[in-house]
């Protein structure tokens, strides 16, 4: 069983993503903003993160960049899950070191397949 950290400032979106991922049997933990995401990534050592982009305190790009340049967190797989759907957003997200980029509204099958592929 792997540990997945889901990060989103919207409680509703957080519930929906968590509900989808609960079907995988993995252990799911959550964070509501960028700073909490970094703190939980460092203390909880998740195997994978599903990370929103537009959030308070630190945005998802900043979180991704910070974790991927830190020796203790760089191996955490990161899926950016966002409603920023322009090509330039995707390009910028992947440039920060993300392993995958999915736009909202996501297809459950796509999210689950991406999680399976990365773990």
């Amino acid at each position: 069983m792997s540990k997945i950290l889901v990060v989103d400032d919207s409680p509703t979106t957080l519930k929906m993503v968590t509900k989808t991922l609960a079907t995988t049997g993995h252990h799911i933990i959550t964070a509501g903003d960028g700073e909490e995401a970094v703190q939980k990534a460092e203390t909880e050592h998740p195997d994978l993160m599903v990370l929103d982009v537009v959030m308070p305190h630190k945005n998802g790009y900043q979180v991704c960049r910070q974790l991927k340049t830190n020796a203790t967190t760089k191996n955490i797989k990161i899926i950016l899950l966002t409603s920023k759907d322009q090509q330039v957003d995707r390009f910028w997200g992947m440039k920060q070191g993300a392993d995958a980029y999915i736009t909202k509204p996501f297809e459950e099958a796509e999210l689950l397949a991406t999680v399976t592929k990365l773990l």
């Binding site: 919207s10 409680p11 509703t12 979106t13 519930k15 929906m16 959030m55």
Partner: protein
């Protein structure tokens, strides 16, 4: 309206979106009084973006589209492409009222969606100096 809305998620979303609207309004009023306070504008943009993202997740693409209008305008202001003049402030506050109206209608089940969306689209196109026709077909 999508065929299948999860009532629990919908209730969660309505409560969440309702909590953001007063904060967006307050941020807009603060920025109108003092344009040096860019952080409040960024906060309004973030809340609006969250409404846009969460609404499409729970199956309300029309509401998401309405929020997208406001987000685009706020983004123009944050990046300095648009100033907060009276027309802009009035339109944004009016759009927040319409978003709130939509949420209230969702809760009451008394959905006058088409009329509300038409009003939002028309006011947006007027605000942007676009021809009145357009967008409705897509919605």
């Amino acid at each position: 309206m999508p065929k299948k809305l999860d009532p629990k998620m919908l209730a969660s979303f309505v409560q969440e979106a309702h909590s953001y609207l007063p904060q967006i309004r307050e941020s807009l009023e603060t920025f109108q009084r003092d344009a040096t306070q860019r952080e409040v504008l960024e906060e309004a943009l973030r809340y609006t973006h969250t409404i846009k993202g969460a609404s499409v997740m729970v199956g309300l693409p029309v509401l998401s589209h309405m929020a997208n209008y406001a987000e685009g305008t706020l983004e123009e202001m944050v990046t300095g492409q648009r100033a907060m003049d009276t027309a802009c402030s009035t339109w944004l506050q009016q759009t927040m009222d319409q978003l709130e109206h939509y949420l209230d209608d969702l809760l009451s089940g008394d959905m006058q969606q088409q009329a509300l969306v038409a009003a939002v689209v028309q006011s947006f196109r007027r605000f942007k100096n676009l021809p009145e026709a357009g967008d409705m077909a897509a919605l």
